[in-house]
């Protein structure tokens, strides 16, 4: 679900960059990039099931 939301956010960012104000696009971009890194860190903290 979070990845669907991130793809949706990126779509909105790209549409804002093409159709909207530059400041708005950059602000939305910053929020989306932080959300991506937060999602990565959340998944990176999962326990790894290693088989060796």
């Amino acid at each position: 679900m979070e990845f669907t939301a991130l793809f949706l956010a990126v779509t909105v960012v790209l549409l804002a960059a093409w159709l909207g104000a530059r400041t708005l696009a950059l602000a939305l971009f910053a929020v989306t990039l932080v959300a991506c890194v937060a999602t990565y860190l959340h998944h990176a903290s999962d326990v790894l099931k290693l088989s060796f």
Partner: protein, 185 residues
């Protein structure tokens, strides 16, 4: 490098991003390889990479636009490297199939590395940032406009495919079927 040449090269960059997103879709739809969560995150970074070129096409080249893409490429490279390291142990078959000997996440790392180098090279040319004093010309010709809408369309298509794959719950670590379609059967 003139502003118009820089804009044309940015449009070419958008076509390159569209090619990567289309290739990922081809692997998913034709080969039936569903992307894992970390793979999706790398695909998201490829789509977000388009922010710099789109802003450069629309508002003219600025260092801050290139910087935005550099930040995304650095994050994408880190995500891809994480996945490479997860499968670094000898005997680990890796995730998914390999293309020309490398898994998709290794290719993704190469792609982000190329994006970092290409963006840095573009930043070397100062003349593209010089204001000619007039109002910004409408630099987006049909070539650039098509590239922009191609990337936006492919990103929007990923919203639908990810919704089908993951459904309304957390995405499975090793997806084998479209969760939303399973629920409809």
């Amino acid at each position: 490098m003139t502003r118009s040449l820089a804009v044309a090269l940015n449009a070419l960059g958008l076509y390159a991003i569209a090619l990567v997103l289309a290739a990922a879709f081809a692997a998913q739809l034709l080969l039936g390889e569903l992307p894992c969560p970390l793979c999706l995150l790398q695909r998201i970074q490829f789509a977000l990479l388009a922010i710099g070129p789109i802003l450069n096409v629309r508002f003219g080249p600025r260092p801050s636009h290139y910087a935005a893409s550099l930040l995304v490429a650095a994050a994408g490279a880190a995500f891809a490297m994480r996945q490479i390291l997860l499968h670094i142990m000898p005997g680990d078959p890796g995730y998914g199939s390999a293309l020309l000997g490398y898994h998709y996440y290794t290719w993704a790392f190469f792609g982000f590395a190329v994006a970092i180098v290409a963006t840095a090279v573009m930043l070397l040319f100062d003349r593209q940032f010089e204001d000619d004093g007039g109002t910004p010309p409408d630099m987006a010709g049909a070539f650039a406009r098509t590239a922009v809408w191609l990337v936006i369309g492919l990103t929007a298509a990923n919203v639908i495919s990810t919704l089908l794959e993951c459904g309304l719950a957390a995405c499975p670590a090793d997806p084998v079927a479209y969760e939303l379609l399973k629920g409809m059967r």
